[in-house]
Symmetry: C2
Amino acid sequence: MSGIYDHDDFFARYMQMDRSKGLHFAGEWKQLEKLLPDLEDACILDLGCGIGWHASYFAKNGASSITAIDQSEKMLKQARKLHSHPKITYVQADLCAIQEDKPFDLVFANLCLHYINDLLPLFEHIYKLLKQDGIFLFNIEHPVFTAGDQTWINEPPVWKVDNYFSEGKRETVFLDTKVEKYHHTLTTILNGLLKTGFTLEAVEEVVPSLELLDKEVYKLEMKRPMMLLVRARKAEKRA
Amino acid sequence: MSGIYDHDDFFARYMQMDRSKGLHFAGEWKQLEKLLPDLEDACILDLGCGIGWHASYFAKNGASSITAIDQSEKMLKQARKLHSHPKITYVQADLCAIQEDKPFDLVFANLCLHYINDLLPLFEHIYKLLKQDGIFLFNIEHPVFTAGDQTWINEPPVWKVDNYFSEGKRETVFLDTKVEKYHHTLTTILNGLLKTGFTLEAVEEVVPSLELLDKEVYKLEMKRPMMLLVRARKAEKRA
């Protein structure tokens, strides 16, 4: 998992992003919200909770308890300041290391799984943390987005895909900072879930929103997918 | 559906391709074969059967009947010459128009769905043609492959992705011939199946094979996925 979120400059830049101002400023939210299960009395694990926008939404929409995990001290400090709620427990921890006794109705992970090198043990862990029929809903950077050096070729702009089948570390630049991420193929993500025992209920690429983007950025974003939403269910006992 | 397969020059070039020499010369076969259901006594619909290699494999491996459909007269003539079998019925027809009274255990479609503009009515049609618990197994050109102008940028080579969210017609060159294909997003393919009522059992990108490719071509093919294999099941009655 990336430790950059605790660097002062990076964190300050992150806090200035539109998505730090609320859920409706995040391009994926409209689609992601529709994929949420019934939140009434739900026991939720929010992986990579950041500054707590989703945890707060869950608390206000009927969830009975939210365990909200992040690795970043700065993120959690901000979350506690902005989105404290009696139903939310913020915990500083590695996403892969969480141990909980009570099973969850929903494990939610927005834009954090591409910081994880090996997804399969995490999928296995999440499977165990879920109740029977529980939902694992996540948003991961799209394999088309993560495969190459994550830049455009100009003019005219087209997106570069490279080294697709070589999974693993990618060094890229996000908010003027060198960031390490991990590329996973679609096979690893989706077949990984299926082999873990999940059933797939939705696989959706986030469609750029003309409401949130200026026209030129929108035209660019229509050229390649950036995020992949997946809703999986722990549907039945595995053999 | 593309009528190019009945053009003399194109057909002659197609027949000279490695994949026309047998299943083991096709890069996808090793992975695709593992995704087949039990063929014993299976009633199979082979969409876009081409020169009949798969139909012949099904016949020799226990299937009770194979309806093998292709739009191309030349392909079917060759199929009847090379792969006649009492259990195979070759039919010249549009893939979207097939009407059959008996339900199938398996609908198989290798590298033909990217010639179809609107996949959703075809998925619906295939769903109806399948028995309860029947399998729809297909190999489609990958959205990463079909999105842009389907060429590399040199040097060093990287794959171009463009106009991803603009589905529909693409004009490309295959075997020195202008060919019309259709680009579909991953969302349309996978969520389309889920919304039709299928459950997904496997989603696999075809991994390039060092046995079949020379080293330079292999290195290139590792840079981007070309084919997507999907195994879906008509699992339960829809509401």
